[in-house]
Symmetry: C2
Subunit: 228 residues, 2 copies
DNA sequence: TGCAGAAGGTGATTAAAGTCACATTTCAGC
DNA sequence: GCTGAAATGTGACTTTAATCACCTTCTGCA
């Protein structure tokens, strides 16, 4: 892989978008290219965490299994995103698993490599700090949603989170099954179904062949802000 | 303030415990000593975040108000803890407020100062990364608790989290009112009261003059692991 | 093209916890 | 010690969403 290819991949939304030539070159030099097919686990909960991944293509789901078996989807990651920093940095176990939901490739960076890169390029540390700040914000917003809102507004929030910004026809970034949506928004499959049906009747979303499409973005945002 | 005083304060559990002389000296030189009385806000939700705090003494509550008014207590901080890194690092607004729950002092470090310190001492960046990794783990475990457990096990977890390790008589680190415990564990004051009464009858905790004491630590841990 | 298994749809029931209302206790400050 | 405010205790009721049970509809693929 060449530096400009990597640069192009990271160019979009990634916090690594502003890496300079030398940084990119080192990432490539010290990183290890890995490929996964749909369903593969990029990271497994409970494992020791000795490397970090930068997603290059594909999509992956970050989820954890609580000790009572409940599956909790924490996030979906796309190209440019960093995964697995936590365990790498604090030396603990992997808190969550990351599973490819389509063919996926990534750059894997070991602890030693990362330490070298951090030592050599001081902007990398700042970038990583920002990645983590973002993750904490996202976790806090998840907690806020779980604690303060009932299922309706909560589902609305998660749908909005999955919605593409320059939304072509309100299509979502990912076509999730209703069970998966449930694991993401923290509600039962049945309840998701009922909520979606209700919104579908109200013209807020369309559910066609399993795929959800947001019709009335403004209304959904309004629901997401609702007092309950 | 002298470097060895700071060193002593940070010695205990802080991730800054292993700072060397030069690092401590710079923290003191570039930091600004601040004092708060009970009830003061060290950090206010919604403000721009241009500094970070290292708690030197006292205790503080990190909480956020959701857009519908619900108060969510995210954590309690004690000496040695870092507060307010997120907004400082990503340049966004303060996600949460931090309120002194007793007279409290801290070292305040501006963005410029932090950047200088990070540039000068590379270990500081790693330390900060670890602080944040820890925070993400804690947020994830909060999400896990909220999603996967019913109120009983959840309250048990929060009580355990508040319990002192070398527990003298099972006393908690902080004496929280039942409403505060509710805001922390995500349940209503009334429900906290009922749960505590039930456990008190069962000899698991003692509730004496408002203060909770853990009598049967093992049992409480067992409840915290329960399937529901 | 037919079949198995996954995904979606829907009613009835149940369980968990919030809310409301009010009594009682505790406690800090005068 | 008195007093008002805050904190606690408790019963009755309501709400929300999970669970259960079952049926229907897709969809991939042999």
């Amino acid at each position: 892989m060449k530096a400009d290819e990597l640069a192009e991949i990271l160019a979009d939304h990634s916090l690594f978008a502003d890496c300079d030539e030398a940084e990119l070159a080192d990432l490539i030099l010290r990183g290890h290219f890995v490929q996964y097919k749909k369903g593969d686990e990029l990271i497994m909960q409970g494992d020791p965490g000795n490397s970090l991944l930068i997603l290059l293509s594909g999509n992956a789901r970050t989820s954890m299994i609580a000790s009572n078996g409940t599956e909790i989807v924490l996030d979906y990651a796309e190209a440019g995103q960093v995964l697995g920093e936590i365990a790498l940095l604090d030396g603990g176990e992997r808190t969550a698993s990351v599973t490819a939901i389509e063919p996926t490739s990534a750059l894997s960076i070991t602890r030693d490599a990362l330490e070298d890169i951090l030592a050599k390029h001081k902007n990398m540390a700042l970038r990583l700090l920002k990645v983590m700040a973002k993750r904490i914000r996202s976790a806090n917003s998840m907690i806020e949603g779980d604690r303060a809102y009932t299922s309706g507004p909560r589902l609305a929030r998660y749908l909005l989170r999955l919605s593409v910004v320059g939304a072509e026809e309100g299509r979502l970034k990912l076509d999730l099954s209703q069970s998966e949506l449930g694991n993401f928004a923290g509600m039962s499959r049945e309840h998701i179904n009922r909520q979606l049906s209700a919104w579908s009747d109200g013209g807020i979303v369309a559910v066609e062949s399993g795929k959800v499409r947001i019709l009335d973005h403004a209304m959904l945002s309004h629901i997401a802000e609702a007092d309950s």
